[in-house]
């Protein structure tokens, strides 16, 4: 009871984004601890740039708390809630989406009510054509997190070693290809986010009634509706790299496998990952992208503010800066990062439009119109359930 009372009191004092001048005044001099994955040097450099900019423009200092797993930041907030610390928390902003968001929303760990749609730069956000901005893995966002970038599942191969024409065009095609080339494909080990996404991609292609994925898992028919997925994986597993007895732990590890010529096909959740890896000398410039013509998974990633954040006004200012046309254009530049924008470019002022038009997306990046249709992310319960089943079948019995 006392916990509730405390958090109620803290909430009353939260900054109100509809009074932006007051937010800016309050934010001045604050230090924002932004907990974000720190595993990629180009992303860290981008975050550092954003920090320099908000300090210059708004007097908000940014500290990037580099995580190897976003859930660790969620864990910090949980531990703080457990200890009754309802203000002055260690985490001011989290880079988040999907399962972590669902979990924080469910446990009441986010600053509420929704604030994202009140941000000044929200007017440029592409809510008409990018449905995943308001529904994160089927969970309504309700302004509890602010969009930061778009993701789409895209495959890569080295055109100097494999012919683009022989690359598979669907999950079934991929299985056929693996039969012809055993040991030359793999995916990150679930519950790694990219690995689990591969499972969801196959599920989305193989399930008979796609509408089921928009609802929580129904235990009664789970085995029946996922049979095509697991039949597929049963066939694929022995054909994988190392005969499926070991898996890379994440996307960058898979990227290294392509560079080492240990596998021939990899994939990522960002269409320009390959271009930025070429730019940094990690992959040869003969790497090319391809996608499945009938669609691959797509989603949005966000930033969210914990209920007990210490620098809420500063976090709001930073979240708003991140969806500014300038920050988004820089982010989409593959020599910087290459993350697709959440903005509707046609809504932007002319100058900003020109900045986007001037971007060279790189040889290895498909143009937006070549990316193919977007498949919706299933409800988070599917991810959890198929991960458990995957672990039982392939993760524990070598």
């Amino acid at each position: 009871m006392s916990l509730l009372a405390l958090s109620g009191a803290a909430r009353a004092a939260d900054p109100d984004p509809s009074d932006w001048a007051k937010v800016l005044a309050e934010a001045k001099g604050e230090t924002v601890y932004w907990n974000a994955w720190g595993g990629a040097e180009n992303i860290n450099a981008y975050i550092e740039w954003a920090g320099d900019e908000v300090e210059k423009r708004y007097g908000v200092k940014l500290v990037h708390v580099k995580l190897d797993d976003t859930a660790k930041a969620v864990g910090t907030v949980v531990a703080e809630k457990a200890a009754g610390r309802s203000e002055g928390g260690a985490v001011d902003l989290i880079w988040i989406n999907g399962e972590n968001f669902a979990s924080m929303k469910r446990e009441g760990l986010l600053m509420s009510p929704g604030w994202a749609e009140e941000l000044p730069n929200w007017r440029y956000v592409d809510i008409d054509n990018k449905p995943t901005i308001r529904t994160d893995f089927t969970i309504p966002v309700e302004g509890l997190e602010s969009p930061w970038g778009m993701a789409k599942l895209v495959f890569f191969h080295d055109s100097a070693r494999t012919d683009a024409a022989t690359m598979p065009k669907s999950a079934d095609g991929l299985l056929e290809w693996a039969k012809a080339h055993p040991g030359r494909f793999t995916y990150p080990q679930p519950p790694d986010f990219v690995g689990s996404s591969f499972l969801k991609q196959v599920l989305a292609e193989k399930i008979a009634d796609k509408a089921l994925l928009q609802k929580p898992v129904d235990e009664a028919n789970f085995a029946e509706v996922t049979k095509p997925l697991f039949d597929y994986l049963d066939a694929l597993n022995p054909l994988l790299w190392r005969s499926g007895k070991a898996f890379p732990q994440n996307y960058p590890a898979m990227k290294q496998l392509l560079a080492d010529y240990e596998v021939d096909i990899i994939f990522a959740f960002n269409p320009s990952e390959a271009s930025s890896a070429v730019a940094s000398g990690e992959l040869p410039d003969t790497v090319r992208s391809f996608t499945f013509p009938r669609g691959t998974l797509a989603n949005t990633h966000f930033v969210a503010i914990p209920f007990n954040a210490n620098a809420k006004a500063g976090a709001l200012v930073l979240a708003d800066f991140l969806i500014s046309p300038e920050a988004q254009a820089r982010k989409q530049d593959p020599t910087v990062w290459g993350d697709p924008t959440v903005l509707a470019v046609d809504k932007l002022p002319d100058e900003a439009k020109a900045a986007f038009a001037a971007l060279d997306l790189g040889v290895a990046t498909l143009k937006p119109e070549e990316l193919g249709p977007a498949l919706d992310e299933p409800h988070p319960s599917w991810m959890e359930r198929i991960e458990t089943e995957w672990k039982r079948r392939y993760g524990a019995a070598n």
């Binding site: 595993g39 260690a90 979990s103 055993p182």
Partner: protein, 559 residues
């Protein structure tokens, strides 16, 4: 007066955080953590743990790899000591092996992985010329299901540790007269040493062996890099559950931490049985008059294994170094196509803050540890009682209780005290691990100090404090600085304590390195591993140079 404080302070620093942390792990393991809706005590977390696929296999992996790595390390050290004590080769190998002690485990593990993987340095050097491999063979070397790479990775790091601990014991066991005696009875070098000197050494390094065993059965970073992935060893899985977005997993993780404690305890139990059996075998061989005069194979086997462990780590580090300046470097090229400093240029500007935190925390923790250790040792002098076995067990406690078993609980307690993510909390957490190493490094040289110097000073009318400051501490300056360098190196290598207690707000070189390692970028890992290696080396260099400069006019104080 002040020295009276020493022992209780040490006991508080060493056992307090562990006992408190264990309590903080125990409650959620039985379902009690009201903030997450666990308000009744139950066995549900253990039911979930047992239902976890492959959990038995993970536990057995931890048990088996830990025992194997420890057995190999002890065997190699024993054989090498037996075969080569007192020779010139011994001194040479000692110089090769000693620096490896200060190298963080994760850096050594990465180096090994880059060396032995099918697309690693060794395969690149022999491909395609000798092997015809145009693409790396699909062989499961790193992350093999049996954990053989993990055992190798642990052994190459534990051998230097055990070797250096054994060196200290060796000096006290006066090996030369024993060797002369058994040689005159016609024993070969190895058999003679194992029968006469080894038992005295082993008695002294036994707790260190236990520490190695406990570490190897519960290790997280090395296991994550080299160990099997499906399923992973227990320690890796527990940390994974702790980090799971599904918050209810924390109960299962706490139950897992208790299972980890049980696995480590079982390993220690098995080890004591192995100790007894091998002692019996030794006695039987001895009674049968087994003299093993022709022991060349054994001797060279010991030397080979010892040198190999050192060379493998160094070759791995060299490979890491090349990666840090590599442009595009594809299989089967033995060397990168392009060389570039761009990784260093990108990383270095961002190193400042973490570097400062690393140095400040290491310096404060080391200073406190040295101070408390000296107080304890002075108290020992005053009372005339050497610390008994019980005291030594307390010193080793933080090294024997698996980190995962108490650190999560400790994090929760720091939070409750509003103490988390602060510099004092971080220093305290590091002290738990720095204290034991400083104590172990300093206690033997301190006890070996010739008290007659004190008597002479007293005879000249000097007071206690004056004697301490102007006679004893200068004489012991070098061992004190070496102990400080060891403590410094230990603090720099801490990963899990830093991550949990600092809540990510006080990043150090090591937490940055592991976070970046999650991105798998070998170039960046190379830079950080190099920095991780550099800092302890600087510490040891200072420990060697300062006394040499200070005492350059005092011949007897030069070493």
């Amino acid at each position: 007066m002040l020295t009276r404080l020493g022992p209780p302070l040490a006991i508080l620093l060493l056992t307090g955080p562990i006992l408190a942390g264990l309590a903080g792990t125990l409650l959620p393991a039985f379902g009690y953590l009201p903030a997450l809706g666990g308000d009744v005590v139950s066995l549900e977390p253990f039911r979930q743990l047992v239902a976890e696929p492959g959990i038995m296999r993970s536990a057995l992996l931890s048990l088996g790899t830990g025992l194997a790595a420890t057995a190999i390390s002890v065997l190699v050290v024993a054989l090498f000591l037996a075969g080569w004590t007192g020779t010139k080769t011994f001194a040479r190998v000692q110089h090769l092996i000693s620096p490896l002690l200060s190298l963080p485990h994760a850096a050594a593990a990465f180096g090994l992985a880059f060396l032995i993987a099918p697309s690693g340095m060794i395969a690149r050097l022999v491909s395609p010329g000798l092997t015809g491999w145009e693409q790396p063979p699909d062989l499961l070397i790193v992350n093999d299901p049996m954990g053989l790479s993990l055992v190798a990775g642990l052994a190459v790091k534990e051998i230097p540790f055990l070797f250096l601990v054994a060196l200290a014991a060796l000096q006290q066991a006066s090996p030369a007269p024993r060797a002369a005696l058994v040689a005159s009875l016609g024993y070969g070098r190895v058999a003679g040493f194992l029968f006469s000197t080894w038992p005295a050494i082993y008695r002294q390094i036994r707790l260190a062996v236990f520490a190695v065993l406990a570490f190897s059965t519960s290790v997280v970073d090395v296991a994550a890099i080299l160990g099997p992935t499906s399923p992973a060893p227990l320690g890796v899985r527990i940390v994974g559950w702790m980090a799971d977005p599904d918050l209810s997993m924390r109960f299962k993780a706490s139950a897992g931490a208790l299972l980890q404690l049980a696995v480590t305890a079982l390993a220690l139990l098995i080890w004591t049985v192995v100790e007894r059996v091998t002692a019996d075998i030794r006695d039987r061989l001895c009674e049968q008059g087994w003299r093993a005069r022709r022991d060349g194979a054994l001797r060279y086997g010991g030397l080979g294994a010892m040198s190999l462990s050192g060379l493998v780590v160094m070759a791995g580090l060299a490979t890491l170094g090349i990666w840090s300046v590599a442009g595009l470097w594809q299989f089967p090229d033995a060397l990168p196509k392009e060389w570039t400093l761009s990784t260093w240029m990108k990383v270095l500007p961002r190193v400042g803050g973490p570097l400062a935190t690393t140095l400040i925390v290491a310096a404060i923790a080391t200073a406190i540890a040295v101070w408390v250790t000296i107080l304890c040792l002075m108290r020992e002098d005053r009372t005339g009682r050497a610390a008994g076995r019980g005291a030594l067990a307390i010193v080793y406690l933080p090294l024997i209780v698996p980190q995962a078993a108490f650190l999560f609980g400790l994090q929760l307690l720091f939070l409750l005290a509003g103490f988390n993510a602060s510099l004092p909390a971080l220093v305290l957490a590091h002290l738990v691990f720095v204290m034991p190493y400083v104590f172990l490094s300093l206690s033997d040289p301190w006890r070996a100090y010739d008290r007659r110097y004190d008597a002479v000073a007293a005879g000249l009318g000097k007071g206690r404090l004056r004697t301490l400051l102007s006679v004893r501490l200068p004489i012991l300056m070098r061992p004190i600085l070496v102990a400080a360098a060891v403590g410094f190196a230990v603090s720099i290598g801490q990963y899990l304590p830093t991550l949990l207690v600092a809540g990510g707000r006080l990043p150090t070189i090591t937490t940055e390195a592991v976070a970046l390692a999650s991105g798998g970028n070998r170039r960046v890992i190379g830079v950080y591993a190099f920095l991780q290696m550099l800092l302890p080396v600087i510490g040891f260099a200072i420990a060697t140079l300062v006394p040499a400069l200070l005492w350059r006019r005092f011949r007897a104080l030069r070493y």
